[in-house]
Symmetry: C2
Subunit: 353 residues, 2 copies
């Protein structure tokens, strides 16, 4: 009897459902070929439901999501909803409630994909950012006082404890070892200004490295310098580990160097629990329903999901099919300029599997 995985689907807002549909198409093709089953459970969380019912993500849904083998998310963000509500109420709520403490972002330029960087090809842009996903200013800690007066003060707290830092570093070191490319892990921080938080990170980094990962070379870069080198010398990097806010910034920078929103995917991992995979793009309201948005990022997220479930052959097949499509088919990754529609692009990948 073949294995069955329960996948929670949250297509979300805007073009989220369109790209999720193609990802599911490809996942089904991979499952059929490699002999496992996928059971999809659909959740309609997003801006429309919120506007209709006032409900963002009920606690009962969190309980259900915890029963899934993995979650696939389309996109969150609605033009009629104030920024923060859906992001905090859905995306960040799942990340936090399911303790998905790692955000994994491969930055990889596929053949045929155009990068905005001069003289850089797939051999130069191939590294992974491991973004801590549970702490930092993302906890929401902070407040405001004297609001709407000339004396208003607003505060956000960047917080980390040793446990959070250690579990992230452990994942990062192990990932670097398993990846087995340059065996180099770079900590990205701001030791010269954020002296409390990065003193903690630096100490933990070197202690863990010395004690348990002597085979992994350790490097350190300030976040500002990291951005420079990601543009000028991306080939320097193997694996980068960083805090949540800096990670948010540098992963998007990395994404644009690998072709942008149309191609970049990420995973929110709880290595001991339920993980969630997503294309990094937004909900792109202006392209909604036009069948022109690029689904490759959502398809790549599906590939990461299968790899996470241990279906490595199927995951590789998806990656190979994406490479085939970028190298020989698509004219561009940009919405409406691909040369194929959203659904045709999904068909191309699915057929190649």
């Amino acid at each position: 009897m073949s294995k069955t995985y329960k996948i929670a689907l949250i297509p979300g807002d805007g073009t989220g459902p369109e790209v999720t549909r193609e990802s599911v198409k490809v996942l089904k093709a991979a499952a059929a070929k490699f002999g496992f089953n996928l059971e999809f459970i659909n959740y309609d969380f997003g801006g429309d439901r919120y506007l209709r019912t006032g409900e963002v993500l009920p606690d009962s849904a969190i309980k259900e999501l915890k029963q899934a083998d993995a979650i696939l998310l389309g996109a969150i963000g609605h033009p009629d909803v104030k920024p923060g509500i859906l992001e905090k109420g859905i995306l960040l709520k799942i990340r936090f409630e399911l303790d998905q403490y790692i955000n994994l972002r491969p930055v990889k330029l596929y053949p045929g994909v155009d990068t905005p960087l001069k003289d850089k090809g797939p051999e130069h842009i191939d590294y992974v950012v491991i973004r801590e996903n549970s702490g930092d200013v993302y906890t929401g800690a902070g407040g405001v006082t004297l609001k709407n007066t000339p004396h208003e003060i607003a505060v956000q707290n960047m917080m980390y404890n040793r446990m959070q830092v250690d579990r992230c570093l452990k994942f990062a070191f192990e990932y670097t070892r398993k990846r087995n490319k340059k065996n180099t892990l770079a900590l990205c921080g701001k030791t010269n200004v954020l002296t409390y938080v990065f003193d903690l990170w630096e100490r933990a980094f070197h202690e863990m490295g010395e004690t348990h990962f002597a085979d992994i070379k350790r490097e350190y870069y300030h976040v500002d310098a990291t951005c420079m080198w990601m543009v000028k010398n991306p080939e320097w990097f193997d694996v980068i580990v960083t805090t949540n806010m800096f990670g948010d910034i540098i992963t998007d920078l990395g994404a644009i160097t690998q072709g942008g929103m149309g191609i970049a995917a990420g995973g929110n991992l709880n290595p001991e629990g339920v993980s969630m995979f997503e294309p990094i793009g937004g909900s792109a309201p202006k392209y909604t329903g036009m069948n022109v948005i690029n689904p490759l990022a959502a398809i790549a997220a599906g590939g990461m999901l299968l790899e996470h479930l241990g279906e490595n052959e199927a995951a590789s097949a998806i990656e190979d099919a994406i490479k085939f499509v970028t190298a020989y088919k698509l004219k561009s990754l940009a919405a409406g300029r691909m040369g194929y529609s959203t659904s045709e692009t999904g068909d191309l990948v699915a057929e190649h599997i």
Copy 2:
């Protein structure tokens, strides 16, 4: 009788003194040509003095600096000093004590300068980042508890009050109007996560814009998206205003797109007090004393200093001379690969004035 300006010089560490020397050479040439006097007062603050005397920047020096018309800084950072001590003790101390609440960073690609961005020329890369320079996590507020235990907690506080936000926005709107290019000011933030701090910034931004700067178009970008567009579509930007930490990151990203450390300069402004100008590069210890480091950034900082003092003709002459040197002389901006030495490069600029 011609005007005399008192300029405090802090050459600093590593290659700081070498590049400052060339900047002074050029400033003197400009002063001679445009009929004003510069009186330089030298300060030896930096890593060497700290290692020798334990003193970073005495309060008496702050008093003296407050008497200057402007400050020119070389570079701060010494390999034998723990990160944070010199940066906080000198650079940030001056910024804070002199209340230099604006960090002004023109991102401008000069003719002949190589950018790492594909298909982008001087016509695409020409915008200004206004970084708030007095608040955010840079205040140093925060702390650590249970240090060196498995339960250690470290916190940094990102703090802003309305006064800080307003004075920065006022400068930014006025600057955008004076610049008179696209008359567009973009706020760069993270409204969907940092809901306290950016709610304050956003409200203040729109209130001030509506009330006093209806002629200036307002835009908003998340910081992660800002990084993407700075790489993919830098021509979209005119003036960007942002918080201290995000500003630190995006200004370095901007710097690499305009040719990097060898060319990028910035000003730490107190519009009502004493301002400080600096090349954005570090102290580059490994090139120290070799006469190979590029002084153009320090020279450009000198140009910004003169513009700030109201010597606009002299400032333009420096800018033109830099453009001449980048367009027709230097082979590269990189240390040791310029085709000219540090002092020869300074000579070239000075001669052209």
